[in-house]
Subunit: 507 residues, 2 copies
């Protein structure tokens, strides 16, 4: 009956060697993970760059060739299926471990965290009851306690939940605020720089659309916030600020926002999905001063934390805030079981069955320590500043005036400035698409204020690579310059019949 007893091979006609667990599971996994690692090793050469060349049409063709039909009547066996599908995913990846992959808050994961994921997947604990996750539950408790203490070091009873990412963290933060504000309705006030998930959460929860406060230089204008809150006086209020905006990496003025929120007896949530990990670095943590005054904080470790997705966190200043999530389901946390000492885990999430994402976080934290993590964050911030200086040194490029937000650099080819407004922006967009279609670089895009106060389109480099040297990043600048020249010629040739770069992406 113990796990040491292997099931009879082929019992009742079902194949042996099927499972990841049990006596022969790890041996079987050794064979199969070798197939995966071989495919991962071969892929970069076959891909020939940070992403496959040819655009969506070409990638769809090659992927379908390896993976169709995806649900055949008869199987092809584990080895063939793994080799083909993993090859397709790897050869067709936008590889965040390539220094030219800088579009998004899309990090290259740490090897140690990925290895830890393998253990979680093989054991498959589910975090909704003790009897599905005896030890994994304890590890989650240790991990969330450490994160809670990191975010709210002086609070008497801070707590934190593991989520599927910033979007879920923001949703739960608004849900908790909504319940606290009953009979409500809660009014949410946020900056024009906030992530779309704040608006989506309000919509899902049946709340009035958030009031949007104007920004100055990419961050909330405190006077505008003050006026907005005054205008809503009497309603229960939640201010949502951002520490690390998606477009510019900017941090809202948290101490001032906390003061204003307090004056209006508004609650404060800070979306620090991007910026939160600055707390790991003693040198950079002061950038987040004021965060500790937030009632709740979104914090993500699949951005500046180098975890494979998912690794979201919602930290709260007081554990009592989580009460609305309490739930009784007899099969998971019957009263008599809880009284008899079985921990009740059901109120720790809006999900039920739930992955042991805390395990990879715990392994990473133990492996690197707070200092090691802080150094990786500092590396990204430093390379971003060096990258920004390199942009400034090139006449063919122009960096957006103003500082660099965390590790995000906005710039555009100078040639775009020589064109009429709309044509200039079209060239910027085309540069991104040309480099994507040619498989050379994955750059992001953002609309942001220029020095003259006008909003223009910029290329965005979000530098999350924890050990690429600045020198590894510089070829990106040559690629952009060359692509901009091509985009301009193409635009002239096409005489405006088509968005530049489009033909490369069409199937």
């Amino acid at each position: 009956m113990s796990a040491g007893t292997p099931p009879a091979p082929g019992a009742q006609g079902v194949p042996a060697g099927l499972l990841a667990g049990g006596a022969d599971g790890p041996g079987r996994l050794r064979d199969l993970t070798t197939i995966v690692l071989d495919a991962l090793e071969d892929a970069p050469r076959a891909r020939g760059g940070p992403l496959p060349a040819g655009g969506p049409g070409a990638v769809a063709l090659s992927t379908r060739a390896l993976c169709s039909p995806v649900l055949p009547a008869e199987g092809v066996g584990p080895e063939a299926a793994l080799a083909d599908v993993v090859r397709a995913v790897a050869e067709g990846a936008a590889d965040p471990a390539d220094p030219a992959c800088v579009a998004h808050l899309h990090c290259p994961p740490l090897a140690v965290a990925v290895a830890a994921e393998l253990a979680g997947a093989a054991l498959n604990p589910s975090m909704d009851s003790w009897d599905q996750a005896p030890a994994a539950g304890v590890i989650e408790e240790l991990t969330t306690a450490a994160l809670a203490r990191l975010v709210h070091p002086a609070a008497p009873a801070p707590d934190a939940l593991i989520t599927s990412g910033g979007t879920e963290s923001n949703l739960v933060a608004l849900l908790l605020a909504r319940e606290r504000a009953m009979p409500g309705p809660l009014r949410v006030v946020t900056g024009a720089n906030a992530h779309h998930s704040v608006h989506r959460a309000a919509w899902m929860l049946g709340l009035p659309a958030p009031t949007v406060v104007a920004c100055r230089d990419g961050v909330i204008d405190p006077d505008a916030l003050d006026r907005a809150l005054t205008g809503l006086a009497g309603a229960p209020l939640l201010v949502v600020a951002t520490a690390g905006t998606t477009d510019e990496g900017r941090i809202d003025p948290l101490p001032e926002i906390a003061r204003i929120a307090e004056r209006h007896t508004a609650r404060l949530h800070v979306d620090a999905a991007y910026g939160g990990p600055l707390l790991f670095s003693e040198r950079l943590a002061p950038l987040l001063t004021g965060l500790e005054r937030a009632d709740s904080v979104t914090f993500d470790l699949h951005k500046l934390g180098w975890q494979p997705v998912a690794a979201g966190v919602l930290a709260v200043a007081d554990a009592g805030m989580l009460t609305p999530l309490s739930l009784r389901a007899d099969y998971l946390n019957a009263d008599d079981d809880t009284e008899a000492g079985l921990p009740d885990l059901l109120g720790r999430s809006i999900r039920t069955t739930r992955r042991p994402d805390a395990v990879k976080m715990a392994v990473t934290f133990r492996a690197l320590g707070r200092r090691g993590l802080g150094e990786l964050v500092e590396h990204c911030v430093r390379t971003a500043h060096e990258f920004g200086e390199a942009v400034d040194a090139r006449p063919a490029l122009r960096r957006r005036p103003g500082g660099i937000g965390i590790s995000t650099v906005l710039f555009r080819p100078a040639v775009a400035d020589t064109l009429p407004e709309e044509a200039g922006d079209a060239v910027v967009a085309a540069v991104r698409r040309i480099l994507l279609a040619e498989g050379r670089a994955v750059l992001g895009r953002a609309v942001a204020e220029d020095g003259d106060g006008r909003r223009r389109l910029w290329l965005k480099a979000t530098l999350l690579h924890p050990n690429a040297a600045t020198a590894d990043l510089l070829p990106l600048l040559d690629l952009v310059t060359a692509a901009a020249d091509r985009a301009v010629s193409e635009a002239q040739a096409a005489e405006g019949t088509q968005a530049p770069g489009a033909e490369r992406l069409s199937p």
Copy 2:
């Protein structure tokens, strides 16, 4: 600039060999996954059973010893951190690959799916934009198309989304119905047998609490449903039925429910998180007749699909139903990018950053084929029936009267029937806790109607092991009989001062 160029080792003081990707990533992963596989191989012996003995207190102590402090100032290095934390998780696991682990819809994952997870984690595609997941997006499209066609074979334009599990699938189903019902409010009508996530979803979405319809023999009473819908006439209505209830594995009478819903112009959602995979088997699929008439269907592959969590699905009869999820976020799906041919993936989820869960599903589907998956489902159903017969053959046990729901068997020790009602239920609960505390078995519990119409507590065996023979499961019955005798003696000795079995679980 290509992935083939390794970053300078130790560049700027940051350690080399850090990442899972890039030129040396797979090699590094080979070393680290070996540590994981060794720990997984050793753990069952150290654990000595399906879960560790000693209850929550003992598990907390041994886990803390290996994992504290979880966030030290200085790291201990990847090797030591992995070895310790994975050892803690594995030795402290409730291992679903052990045939004595039958409490929940908590499946032992397939080796091939776990190996595929490794690829997903290493490459870390995020499914919210093409430039983070070029090939993984195509694989998701193929996978959801196949699942959509499986659930709604005759619909002109069926579709499906990948979710984090049944709870998210039910939430999105209610959200889509709410939006369609605008200005609403939508009234949800569901059975007393529905999963708690239906109620939770209504609460989150700001909907009135669902109207609960009485059940007969564990399934919705169609007459009661008809009356409930009549009582709500005029309101936009959603009926939520269940195909595979959590407590009993029962399937609501779908054809009749579909007819009644249609007559009241109510929409129909079916939560088939447990039962959905019966569709893989030609022999068993007829049990789900009527499912194809549902507007939306929750379907889970981390139950009868043997995937590591998460592997949730929401299938819809018509792709147009998904329109309310459409969202524009300039950095992910700007209009000009979409016009230029970049696929827009943002409307495929309520999450933003999102794991490539479709990859492991695709690998599993290709490996086993529909036939192979169907055989595994049939195996579970067959062993459940044989297990039920074995219960019936033992005078010391009594199976709940009536049929077996999918692969769920409810039974209780006969000695519990000799005691007053409450004391009898207390013995049933104690048996479960004794076996948990001694590390011998993980049985579930459910309150369900007995032959005399009274609701009693039962032990629940949810048989999801795809290749344990029935003979591997029978020792569970001896364990239950012996534990029941001990529970009765302890209850008599304690003279009711404490719930039986409680002292074993307290720290």
